[in-house]
């Protein structure tokens, strides 16, 4: 792990990779990430030229576009101590797949590997790097948590969000049966195979209902949009939010994802 901070008065400089879905759908998550990072003692910067990590292209077999976006992202976050991403799948893209994608490139390969070492998913960055053990937030609700596939299996994000959630005043955590099972989003998968995706999302919604939770959280906007859209179509009263909103105590700032009205 990199510890030689280019300190801004001893505080690590963190570049926030907003992710395209947060940028478009849920700016609140970006602000929640900024707040959490600042509370943890980081100086946060948001490079303006960022767009998307390139995962949609990469997973569609379009390596050229993915590599263009990877190079652009690597260049943008040069010089920052860390890049932090409020998403397991974009985090996995930058941490695991950029180095693989650019492995044969003598210039960008090593740069990708160097960035990968400094890139972290938001919640695991807070706990594992900044050693945050608790947050100051209140959210009186029965809460359940869905483990997004990439965060879980590519980045090992599992108990970190649960640990921080346990410190939120009022949160009663109910484990989700099948928490590690995919919700059926899968990027373009959900529009290419909508029926299969819907079956998977439906199972997820059933599992969520079975917990009796009022609020379901996850760390990835893709899953959250899928879960929120499915619950809302069913008329379910369960609210949906990104975990960062709860940890940053911002549930009062904006209605849940997909809330009608």
């Amino acid at each position: 792990m990199v510890t030689a901070f280019s300190h801004s008065a001893g505080r690590p400089r963190v570049g926030l990779f907003v992710t395209c879905l947060v940028d478009l759908y849920r700016p609140t998550v970006g602000f929640a990430a900024v707040r959490l990072l600042e509370q943890a003692g980081c100086v946060v910067e948001v490079p303006a030229g960022q767009t998307c990590c390139g995962q949609p292209a990469y997973n569609s077999g379009d390596r050229a576009t993915a590599a263009d976006l990877a190079r652009a992202t690597i260049a943008l976050f040069d010089g920052l101590d860390y890049v932090v991403i409020p998403s397991g799948s974009c985090g996995g893209m930058i941490r695991k797949h950029y180095p693989a994608l650019l492995a044969d490139d003598p210039v960008w390969g090593p740069r990708a590997a160097a960035l990968a070492e400094r890139a972290f998913e938001l919640v695991s960055f807070l706990t594992d790097v900044m050693k945050v053990g608790a947050v100051t937030a209140r959210c009186p609700a029965r809460v359940t948590y869905h483990d997004s596939c990439s965060g879980l299996r590519e980045l090992g994000v599992k108990e970190q969000p649960r640990r921080l959630l346990a410190s939120v005043e009022g949160v009663e955590l109910a484990e989700l049966p099948g928490a590690e099972v995919c919700c059926g989003f899968g990027g373009t998968f959900c529009v290419k195979y909508p029926d299969v995706s819907a079956r998977m999302a439906g199972d997820k919604a059933d599992d969520i209902a079975a917990t009796g939770a009022d609020l379901v959280l996850a760390g990835d906007m893709g899953c959250l949009l899928n879960i929120a859209g499915t619950l809302s179509r069913r008329g379910s009263p369960v609210a949906v939010r990104h975990v960062a909103e709860v940890l940053a105590d911002m549930t009062g700032d904006t209605p849940p994802i997909g809330a009608k009205g």
């Binding site: 478009l24 767009t51 292209a57 596939c149 299969v196 079956r199 998977m200």
Partner: protein
Amino acid sequence: MESTAHRFPENARRALTDENLQYMLRKSATGFQLRRRMAADRLPEFEDLRDQGRDIKNHTLAHLDVYLEAFEAKVNEAGGHVHWCPTAADARNTILRLCQAAGAKTVTKGKSMIAEEIGINDHLEAAGLVPIETDLGEYIIQLRKEPPSHIIAPAFHVRKEQVAEAFRAAHTDLPPDRPLDEPRELITEARLMLRRRFQEADVGITGANFLIAETGATVIVTNEGNGDLTQTLPRVHVVIASIDKVVPTQEDAATLLRLLARSATGQEFSAYTTFSAGPRRAEDADGPAEFHVVLLDNGRSKLLGTEFQEVLRCIRCGACMNHCPVYGAVGGHAYGWVYPGPIGSVIDPALIGIEKAGHLPNASTFCGRCEAVCPVRIPLPKMMRHWREKEFDAGLGSPAVRRGLGVWGWFVRRPRLYHAAARLAVRVLRRFGAPGPLAAGWTAHRDLPRPEGRTFQELWAERNRRSGRGEA
């Protein structure tokens, strides 16, 4: 077998509304997963074993020619014969020739996915022979005239009521009012019918889980013991196996066997593990007079040295499909060719072409559970992605998705334009919801949550202007 992989979306839709299938899928959803987990937890060295399994297979694949020739030499030494078959047709014809030379009428068969791959039953039937499946699951689907839906549990999709129905239709010489409600009654009846066939068979065909170069032995695992009867009772034993089944030593086979049953069914070991090495020797109590190994390539050697080489490590345990949420939703038949689930999504395009099987590597969310449980650590999602790359480079795949990605790709490379477009898009989305055919795929089943209305980048720039900070 005729592929319907190109109709995956329709196959899947049908599967999702097939009540019997859905009943079985839901019933078995977590059983295999739990049993594998428990078996793995009971064995402290399980993760190390997976590394060893991967390494054994990698080493073998790097010297495949050497080990296959060593295997052949040992089989010859024991008085058996190896038949090298580059294509499925070669393998079919070789087996038919062996059956005809033996004057066979009835041929018993153990479970073999390679037999499915080459379509041996149809070929033998067309020549007037009677192939009889002796594995209970295979026997059931043979009566139902359908392919297996799972590589280790061929009749995974069949309810017991449907089995009873198939038995009543086929076993017409038994009393029509006999009870067939309990699994036990079904098994007893199958045993009775099969016992007669074992006696009549002139040739027994089995698959192989491993071929051992060191000894020339072929190895099968079963839980019913049917494989043993299939290979010892008839005069001629034909083993059908693909070239990737060879391993260097008996010790290596033992290592892989320790992984196989645990990963497949959560058993420590299958009930029967049988080694066959050559025909009956003078001092043997039983065994066949002739021993043949039909060694199939069928496109596998073309994968060596490519980004797909690692898939040849597969030991066909089925764990990847047992943990796959897509398989769990639609079952095996929807995949449309011999191998379903994640392994099928990688190997089917290799064997029948990406033009025919293009849907399969796309019908995955890349959730990664398959790779997480694969005993020989095959990076299945990565390989599916490689197929998508091949498809993309060849200009195949859904034109609508390609067009959409093309437009998106143009914008995301131009941050200023992209952000301007994004600012507009979220306002439109907030007011009117999503237009277009891609949105229809989404909104058929779920709502599209409205965005908050402004992009993060624009709000962040605003906040910085207010606080006098510049844009980073």
